[in-house]
Amino acid sequence: MLTLAIDGWEGPLDLLLALARTQKVDLRAISILELVDQYLAFIEGARALRLEVAADHLVMASWLAYLKSALLLPRDPGETPNPEELALRLTLRLERLAAMREAGARLMARDRLGRDVFARGAPEGLRTIRHLRPEADLFDLIAAYGRVSARTRPALHVVARRPVMTLDTALARLAAMLGGEVAWTRIEAFLPEGDAPWRRSALASSFVAALELARQRRIELDQEHAFAPLMLRGARA
C-alpha cells in the first residue's frame, strides 16, 4: 500500500499511473481489474484516515467501480461502448500521460541554450542604417511655391465687367421709341436684342426710365395687377 498523502497527486490520472507502475512498467500489460481495486482501496484508505479526498478523485472512483462491474457482469452484446474498449482507452490515456511525462524530462535534460550551451557573449550586433531618399521633381517644387503664394499673398479683387445698359441710354431709347406710339405695348418690346444678362440689365434700366418718363408726363404706364405685363404708351398731348 502506498502511503503518500492524497493531495500529493496531480489529479486521479496521476494517481492511477503511479498505481499502474507498481504493477508493471509496460502499461499495456497491466490488469485493469487489479488497478481498479488498487485505486478504490487507496481512496478508502484515505477516507479511513479522514483525509480530504478531492471531488475529481471520487468521480474517478465511481467511474472505475462502474467499469469493474461492466467488466465482470454478463454483457449485453448491444451495449456501446463495450467495457473492454473503455478499459483500453483508459490504458491509452495512462500511456500518453506517461509518454508526455518522459518527453518533458528528456526535453529538460537537453543541452539548453543559456544554461549548457551559449551564444556569443558580446556580439558586435548588426545594424541596418536607413537613409531617407525623399523624392520630388521640379514641377512639385514650383507647384508647391505657387500653392504657398496663392495661400498667403494679399488677394487682389477685380470686379468683372458685366454688360450694363445705363439709365441715360435707356431714357434716350425709350423716349425716342415711344415718341409717336399710341397703342399700349409691353415693356419687353422696347428691349434690344442680346444675351440674357444684357437684356436683364436693359429691362431694369428701361423700367426705371419708364418711371422717370411717366413722372415727366411724357408716357403713361398701366398694369392690371401685380406681376401682370407692364404696358406703356406715349402720353396724349
Binding site: 471531488a55 518533458g104 526535453l107 541554450l113 544554461r115 549548457d116 551564444a119
Partner: protein, 192 residues
C-alpha cells in the same frame, strides 16, 4: 590560413556579430546577395563540427553556439531560469508534441485542470504562443511552440523532438479524446 573564400568569411563574420539567429535570407540581405549562402552555411557547419564553437540550424535560422559537451565548463548556475514546475514541464511537452492544442486537450491528457499561471510562465519564457483558434464550437484558443523554444532546447525543428516518431507510430499523438474526460475534470482542483 591562406586565401579563404570571401563568402565564407563574410557569412562567418555576420553570424558571429549577430545578436540573434539568422535565416539565410537575412544573411543575404546583409551581404547584398544570396548566391552561395546555403552552401557556405553547410561548409561552415562542417568546418566547425568538433570545435569548441559550432554552427547550428534551429527552425531555419542559424547561429554559433558553444559545443554541448563543454557545458560543464560553462554552465551558469547562479542565474538559472526559474525552475519550471512539474505541471509546466508536462504542459510544455504536451504542446510541443501535439501542437496546435487547446487548453481542454492539455487538461484531458494530464487528467487535471491547469492553472492560468502554468501557460503564462511558458509564454513569458517565450516558448509557447497562442496560435489562432480551432474552428469548432466555442472557437477555443490554440497553443503552439515558438522559434525560441527550438533555440533553447537545441532542436533543428519539431521533427527533432526526442522520440516523436515512436510516439506517433504508437498512436500516442493521435487527436485527443476530450469528451471522455468532461466529468472528471470539471470539478478538479488546481495543480501547481
Amino acid at each position: 590560413m591562406s586565401e579563404r573564400d570571401p563568402l565564407l568569411r563574410a557569412v562567418e563574420a555576420v553570424l558571429f556579430a549577430s545578436e540573434s539567429p539568422m535565416t539565410p535570407a537575412a544573411i543575404a540581405a546583409h551581404l547584398g546577395g544570396s548566391e552561395g549562402i546555403a552552401q557556405a552555411l553547410g561548409t561552415l557547419a562542417h568546418e566547425y563540427a568538433g570545435r569548441g564553437i559550432v554552427l547550428v540550424e534551429r527552425g531555419g535560422r542559424w547561429h554559433f553556439e558553444t559545443a554541448g559537451d563543454l557545458a560543464h565548463l560553462l554552465r551558469r548556475d547562479r542565474d538559472e531560469h526559474r525552475k519550471l514546475s512539474r505541471a509546466g514541464i508536462e504542459t510544455l511537452a504536451i504542446i510541443a508534441y501535439h501542437e496546435p492544442v487547446t487548453r481542454a486537450e492539455i487538461e484531458a491528457i494530464r487528467g487535471v485542470q491547469i492553472s492560468k499561471g502554468t501557460l503564462d510562465v511558458l509564454m513569458e519564457a517565450g516558448w509557447v504562443r497562442p496560435a489562432g483558434r480551432r474552428e469548432s464550437p466555442g472557437r477555443p484558443l490554440l497553443f503552439a511552440t515558438t522559434l525560441a523554444f527550438l533555440d533553447h532546447f537545441g532542436l533543428a525543428s519539431r521533427r527533432d523532438l526526442p522520440g516523436i516518431d515512436d510516439l506517433r507510430a504508437a498512436g500516442l499523438l493521435d487527436p485527443v479524446d476530450t469528451a471522455m474526460l468532461q466529468g472528471e475534470v470539471e470539478s478538479a482542483g488546481e495543480d501547481d
